[in-house]
Symmetry: C2
């Protein structure tokens, strides 16, 4: 019984601290999304690459700003505030020109760009979505909220790695 009381007290304290730190931390808070493209992202360093089949048929290169790269290389979890992760998506297309040279169908390359997504870590500003601000841009324009609302429900299933899917490729 004492243990349970202690546990409940601890939970209450943690909840209190979270409420204090986030200002308005209730689960009902409206999510805040990122609507500006972080400058200079195309010059950031590589975290890894990815390829989605099924409906997406996409190729991604995942980049990180300096804070992100440092955290990845040092294995820091959760990611510190200031982390920004960018996923640049392209069509995953067969390269006819390469296949002709190779003499067989084997080569897939990045086709037309499709969208760019970002995750921006700020545990205060984005408290209602696990400390991450989500962003999705098509042709430089932010996607509508209905699209952005689909990010967090899926990413939050990955609690063990602070909601981030991509692992660092050495």
């Amino acid at each position: 019984m004492r243990q349970i009381t202690f546990l409940l007290a601890a939970v209450a304290i943690v909840a209190g601290v979270v409420a204090l730190r986030t200002g308005a931390a209730d689960a009902q808070a409206a999510p805040v999304f990122v609507t500006k493209i972080p400058p200079g992202y195309r010059d950031w360093r590589v975290i890894s690459v990815a390829h989605e089949e099924a409906n997406l048929n996409s190729f991604a290169v995942i980049l990180g700003n300096d804070v992100a790269i440092k955290a990845y290389r040092e294995g820091t979890l959760p990611f510190p505030n200031g982390t920004i992760i960018a996923a640049l998506h392209y069509r995953h297309v067969a390269s006819e020109e390469n296949n002709k040279i190779f003499g067989q169908a084997q080569s897939f390359v990045a086709g037309a760009p499709t969208n760019i997504q970002f995750m921006v870590k700020d545990s205060r500003e984005y408290a209602s979505t696990g400390g991450w601000g989500f962003a999705h841009f098509n042709d430089g324009k932010p996607a509508e909220e209905a699209v952005l609302k689909t990010c967090f429900p899926c990413h939050q299933r990955n609690q063990d790695r602070d909601l981030v899917f991509t692992r660092y490729a050495p």
Copy 2:
């Protein structure tokens, strides 16, 4: 007949110029390979990504040093001396952890690293292989010459783009 004579003369002039510029440019010259890993390459910027099926089953991220990125962005061909292009290869593997979260088999990620390849542009030093020095490292060790000798015969089929396969992904 005059056209043929002119053509032969032109070919002779081009051959002469090439011989002059490369110092020892005969087709019999032993190829020179790159045997040291260029420092800092993992921090270079992204050119694009690639995926090879067939025997390779590989995922690549292709990076460029500052000279390479500038040339790509400005569309400079041939690439200037000092250009270095790096291809970091990994196994192309299904991500069970991502698929579990997504609820379907769709996700492929970079698996174990397999090798790193470089192309180093120096039109004098690597004259016998089109101005490019080729390199291939497994676990940090240069591949044997038999492997390196396979690079140029394939790359030289891509004369239109200075022997480089990868196009820049915006």
